[in-house]
Amino acid sequence: MRSVKKFGIRWSGLIPLCILTALVVIYFLFFFDQHLRYWMAKGATKLNGAKVDIASVTTHFSKARITIHGLDFGSRSEPMTNTASIDTVVLDINPGAIIHGHVVIDETSVTGMHYGTPRKTSAALSAAESKNSVPTLASKLGQAVEHEVKAAIEESPLNNLSALLNVDSLKQAALTQLDNLPTVQKVKQITEDVKNTEKAWRSQIEALPSVNDVRDIEQKIKSLASSEIKSPADVQRIIGEIQTLQKQAKTWQEAALQTQKRLVTDVQRFETMTRETAATVKNDVQGVMTAIKAPSLDIHDLAPALLGPMAQKRLHTLASAIDMARAYMPNNKNKEKNPDVVTVKRAQGTDVIFRREITYPKFLLRAAKVDTDLFHDEKRGRLTINAANITNTPHIWPEPATFAVDVKAPGIEHASLNGTIDHRTDLAHETIKAKVQGIDLGTMDLHRSNTLTFVITNALLDAETSVDIQDDVFGVHMAGTMRDVRYTVESGNAEITKILQDIVKDLNIVQLSVGVSGDIASPKFEIHSNLGERLAHGLRNALLHRFEELKTHVEAKVRERFEVEQARAVEAVNQLRQEGVDIATKRLSDLVGLDGMAQNAIKEVGGKLSKNAADAVFKQLGGKIKLPF
């Protein structure tokens, strides 16, 4: 019978225990690095928002060091390009913290950094992988600023510059207005009045004695003057008849005089009216210009429309970075109400965090010092980064996260960036001061539409930016200068091309000022630039020139049209004068002559009597007749 062993130590159990331990050691020696590489790549991909590839990870347990080789950060916007590639990253882990369940990286060093390198596979994430990234600050800022920039672009006169500068259609529109001009209407009315008056005049002229009537009387006086006088009684009779004719002539003369006066007055009145109408032609020009809706000359600063998208892109990048910092370094406000108790998944219980006794946060990058060469297209630069206190639980770490970046790279003469991310309290507070010199902006669209391409093809940017964000209150200001600026203008309209080229011809330095302030829900976005002002001024002048040209054209057309009508009126008045005043004057003259003729005839009749005969006649008549001579 087998002996029954009592409860105690089973020495034979040490063998499987050793085997188990050996398996664990083998795992850490041969497989742990692979798994660590997988988890690191996964975590970095989540942070980056595009695929991050890691060639290999080597863990040195004796030195508490992790070395990462071949780190490629894919670009979100250009999936076939790496934003940055790093040859080697060395992380020195704090072993004391590891045994407490914390990851504390005391130091980080980076060597061999490249950017803009091509990728063999796309860095784009699938929809399922990327749906977790929900930016808040960036989206809010993006929406608010995008709205303003979009409005500025839509209102930009560059959108319909060809239409604004093309005044031919306006000229055509002006022609259709000419018949309705008030002045022309008035002159037409005068012409009509003249014609109506002409009828009344004709009846008056017709009431005057005709030329034949005057001739008849003339003949009668002549025959009376030459008739034979046989007796004094003949003299008396002839003189009486002549006097009767003379009276008739005087009556006619009076009527002719009255008619002439009236006609002259009417003609003068029409001439005055026609002359006065000419003075109101200017009002017609204004009227036509208003009616054809001549272009507005009120062009504001064009900087928001031209440089707004660039500023918006920079702001969005900044806000995305702050979004990321707030997502992965949350402040107290973003934590749960009871910070000591963190509810995990169902059936997995609740983790109680004893934070007062914890020495380190769960993750802490205590210091990262990067001093490495930077490569881009076989060109070399230098990158220095000093970052500290980057943690996922900033509220339990006494110091805020800080970073200082200094870059000299291909495409950047020099850039320095200093910032603080303070998420230790309820109020998230980020401050950044950046100074860049000689950033190559490459090709930058100022305006691109079907009709016009207005592009900066070369420019170097020097700028200073200050950012101060407290919770949702934004304060960003950037003052910069773009130098060595060259422009390309392409348009189907040669005139527009020339105008724009002339405007920016000598503008090789562009001053830029961008400001965003206020609450994130309603930020006040301001952007000013001498480029915008210069363009506004230049376009205003070009439009003014066109406007003046249009005005001159309209004025000429209005005058031309008026002169045609005025000529008609003048002609009508002249005709009136010829057919009325001249006839009346001629009649009057004839009748005045008739009166003189009658007087001469009476003298002639009287002269025919001898003095004796005259005395005898006087005696015989006894002074009953009084002779006019």
């Binding site: 029954v4 409860f7 159990g13 407490h100 997995q348 109680v352 965090i353 004893f354 006794e357 914890i358």
Partner: protein, 171 residues
């Protein structure tokens, strides 16, 4: 079928000449392992104990299966108990414990881990004593009587029984 096989196996263990204390200790260790969630340093400790302590491994596995099945239903109870313990008067003690090296990896600060371990500790001695008592009395009252029967004596004399004996010697 699996459960029937396990019960037969346990009955075989009880009927065997294995020490009562080993069987009871195996049951208790299985209870710890069954109640405590796996992703914790406690489990490493249990495995090491199972290997180096002279406990009946068959009973450990049986007990693990039984108590793991029970733990699914008892998790809410463990959660409440663990949370009360962690947030109660012992808060300072846990905080100091949490600050010790490697201890956080036990996940003792998790309510279910704490509740299940506390429950297991409380039940450890009663379960041990009760199991010992039950096995002893079972062996006296049932097994000894069965062993006295002619059928069992015939069976014990068979070659197949001897073969089984050799098999158990490994256990």
């Amino acid at each position: 079928m699996f459960f029937v096989r396990q019960i037969i196996r346990v009955l075989a263990l009880i009927h065997s000449e294995a020490a009562t204390s080993q069987l009871a200790a195996g049951l208790v260790l299985g209870m710890f392992m069954g109640f405590t969630p796996m992703m914790s340093l406690f489990w490493v400790k249990y495995v090491v104990l199972a290997l180096i302590l002279r406990v009946n491994l068959g009973m450990v596995f049986f007990s693990l299966g039984v108590f793991k099945s029970l733990s699914f239903g008892l998790d809410p109870l463990f959660d409440r108990l663990g949370l009360r313990l962690l947030t109660g008067d012992l808060h300072g003690f846990w905080a100091k414990l949490y600050d010790l090296p490697l201890v956080p990896f036990t996940r003792f600060n998790n309510s279910i881990v704490m509740g299940s371990v506390a429950c297991s500790i409380v039940l450890m001695i009663p379960v041990f004593l009760m199991t010992t008592y039950l096995i002893k009395h079972y062996r006296i009252l049932v097994v000894s009587r069965v062993r006295g029967t002619t059928f069992f004596k015939t069976w014990q004399a068979s070659n197949f029984y001897k073969l089984c004996e050799k098999y158990h010697a490994f256990g």
